[in-house]
């Protein structure tokens, strides 16, 4: 008995074919893919960190609009009692956080970014998370299995899961799509006393952001976070000059959607389901031939043939 080197190579060739095809062909494909056009009615939020005073009125309005329980537990933060959630969670879809770096600090509003090319909707097995009207991503309980792959995939850690429920739901900002036809609905934007967060179509929001940057170039970081980041978002951010968006806890994604590599590898491997079918046919033919030749050889020696 020997396993020759050739046998070994064949083992690897057979076993590794799919993976190899995937990984080699994948990245090449990625560069050719063009971003889908942005729908004209895509709506979102523009949050201006320089205007926010951290009053959390948006959080209260959000929880009221979505019938969410208000967090009552008091935490001690920096020596002072604090009774708001420190991050979004299954009872809270938006919250103002404060980020400190050195002697500087800045406010940051956390909520779903409504990505133009979201990872969550690609991860979701049965399409529970899907873009609906105005490009808003909503959750459908009937199609959700509670697998939480959306949480793994979301680069912003937005979808939240009800861990203590026997009938758990995924909780995330849906831009108050059910409120006032979704057009002027976002409760957070409606109540903000400083208009630090405003609601509009993506084009309107971008125009507003660009105007602010042009009017007071010294006040702002010149970048609009979400214009291109991760393929672009419908909810976008402005922050003060000297404050980096990564300091606000926003990931540095580059301009391509974070799901791009995964999708190109997956879709190249399974394009038209040709590779799996081909692999199956090759395997079936090989096995059929090997098994019948074995049985023939076996019949000369005696009865009994089973796998």
């Amino acid at each position: 008995m020997t396993i020759s080197r050739r046998t070994l190579l064949r083992t690897m060739a057979v076993g590794g074919a799919a993976g190899a095809v995937a990984a080699v062909a994948g990245p090449a494909e990625a560069s050719q893919e063009a971003a889908p056009p942005v729908p004209a009615d895509a709506r979102g939020l523009l949050y201006d960190s320089t205007l926010c005073i951290g009053c959390q009125t948006c959080t209260v309005a959000c929880q009221r609009a979505n019938q969410m329980p208000v967090e009552k537990s008091v935490k001690i933060i920096n020596g002072a009692p604090y009774d708001f959630p420190t991050d979004i969670n299954a009872d809270c879809r938006t919250v103002i956080k404060v980020h400190e770096k050195g002697d500087r600090w800045a406010f940051m509003k956390m909520q779903c970014m409504q990505c133009l090319e979201p990872s969550c909707t690609k991860a979701c097995m049965l399409g529970s998370l899907q873009k609906q009207k105005y490009g808003v991503i909503t959750w459908d309980g009937l199609r959700c299995t509670g697998c939480r792959y959306c949480q793994i995939s979301c680069p912003y850690n937005v979808p939240k899961f009800q861990w203590d429920s026997a009938l758990p739901r995924i909780i995330k900002c849906d831009l108050c799509l059910d409120r006032k036809d979704g057009k002027t609905g976002s409760a957070c934007a409606e109540v903000c006393p400083r208009s630090a967060v405003i609601h509009g179509t993506r084009d309107e929001l971008l125009a507003t952001a660009r105007k602010r940057l042009a009017d007071s170039p010294n006040r702002y970081n010149a970048k609009i976070y979400g214009e291109h980041d991760g393929g672009g978002n419908q909810s976008m951010y402005l922050t003060a000059a000297g404050v980096e968006f990564t300091d606000l806890g926003l990931p540095d994604l580059g301009d391509t959607p974070p799901s791009r590599l995964a999708m190109s590898i997956q879709h190249t491997t399974y394009k038209g389901f040709i590779a799996p079918v081909a692999l199956y046919v090759v395997a079936a033919v090989a096995i059929f031939r090997n098994m019948s030749s074995e049985r023939k050889a076996h019949q000369d020696k005696g009865p009994e043939a089973h796998p």
């Binding site: 396993i3 690897m12 799919a18 995937a22 990872s119 680069p155 850690n157 203590d164």
Partner: protein
């Protein structure tokens, strides 16, 4: 050639068997509690770490152990090394049990498990979802593996006393025999798809997975390492069966030696490929920068290299104890790579940490115990293990 498999026989209810069922019962109670109180009631999972040990251990490692059926199947049926036949049935049974447990774990872990009925409703399929591909593939493969176990059941029936079962067996045996090549081909295709996709899952999180693990080759590396795990599991099971189970079953050192050589080269190939990929992308520097992940990375490489070299050493291949050690090391290597990719390399966000709860660990232990108990029961009742010398 003949597989010469016989039921091992002997008493089913032994102290070991009862202890295993006891552990499984504890897991059962915990699962019952989870059904009413939610996933959070027995796990340490959070929104930051929403997949815990149940994914990389119960699903990805149990199925990795079960991949022996895939590895031995490739050697036996595709590469036509008929001599490995005696190893096929135990490997397939381990696979059927491992994959069933993996599937059961997923159901326990799914927050809205009842929603999984819609996995049978194609109009809702999201063809972008890597997890959907894994789910459908694993679901089908569990069925395929149990179909592959049925020849042993039919054989047992035809050898038994009941004339009714004999008739049934006589009716189905030829049909099954005719269908087998096409079922086995499916059993080769499906693991190729889902074992690689178990790695692809984390391609979706480029910002969260440490650069020592994040690479476009994740699917390929998961596929290669499932082979080494599969060969390790086949070897370990065969040696254990020879040592622990009553009866005249003997280990097939020559066959295992052949498997060990393949496993050894595949392990070393894995190490070389992994290091080369890291060097190529420039991420190898992280292997020399102090971080929480760094020691885990080297442990993983050491396990693959160590088991690979041991598999290839002539001395180890001739010694049951050493070969068993090598097999266990290769299982640990694959398990380490899986746990590292899913948990150690995963960054849940600033300040977020995860360590499995007692409940999670007990469910994992209980399911593993149930698997061992099922294996012991079935090899005693069904012709799975080859008795005595089979090949010269």
């Amino acid at each position: 050639m003949s597989t010469n498999a016989r039921p091992v026989g002997g008493k089913v209810v032994t102290p070991l068997f009862l202890a295993l069922l006891g552990l499984a019962a504890v897991a059962g109670v915990l699962v019952g509690y989870r059904l009413f109180k939610g996933v959070g009631a027995i796990t340490a999972l959070t929104d930051a770490y929403s997949w815990g040990i149940w994914k990389p251990i119960n699903v990805v490692t149990f199925t990795g152990i079960g991949a022996g059926a895939y590895g031995v199947g490739l050697l036996t049926y595709i590469l036509n090394n008929g001599k490995y036949h005696p190893l096929v049935r135990p490997a397939v049974l381990v696979g059927a049990i491992g994959y069933s447990l993996g599937g059961a774990s997923v159901m326990i872990d799914l927050g809205r498990w009842w929603g999984s009925v819609f996995l049978f409703y194609p109009p809702w399929y999201n063809f972008n979802s890597i997890l959907l591909e894994v789910a459908l593939c694993v679901l089908t493969y569990v069925g395929v593996l149990w179909v592959e176990v049925t020849p042993a059941i039919l054989e047992q029936w035809s050898a038994g006393d009941s004339s009714k079962l004999k008739q049934l067996a006589a009716r189905f045996q030829p049909r099954l025999q005719a269908a087998l090549p096409f079922i086995i081909a499916l059993a080769m295709l499906l693991p190729t798809m889902h074992q690689s996709s178990l790695g692809s899952l984390y391609l979706m999180a480029p910002t969260k997975v440490h650069p020592l693990w994040y690479t476009g080759w994740l699917p390929f590396l998961f596929l290669v390492s499932c082979l080494t795990m599969g060969f390790g599991s086949v070897t370990a099971v065969d040696i254990l069966a020879g040592n622990v189970l009553p009866g005249r079953y003997r280990t097939h050192m020559k066959l295992l030696g052949g498997i060990a050589r393949v496993a050894g080269w595949v392990s070393l190939f894995y190490v070389a490929f992994r290091l080369a990929d890291l060097a190529w992308t420039g991420n190898l520097r992280f292997a020399f920068q102090l971080s929480v992940q760094m020691p885990f990375f080297w442990l993983e490489i050491a396990l693959f290299a160590g088991s690979g070299l041991m598999f290839l050493s002539r001395g180890a291949r001739a010694d049951r104890g050493k070969l068993f050690t090598a097999a266990i090391l290769s299982l640990l290597a694959g398990a380490a790579y899986r746990v590292d990719t899913y948990l150690v390399a995963y960054d849940g966000g600033p300040g977020a940490t995860y360590f499995p709860s007692v409940g999670e660990i007990m469910v994992t232990v209980g399911l593993a115990a149930l698997g061992v108990a099922a294996f012991l029961f079935l090899v005693k009742k069904l012709p799975i293990l080859a008795i005595g010398e089979t090949h010269s």
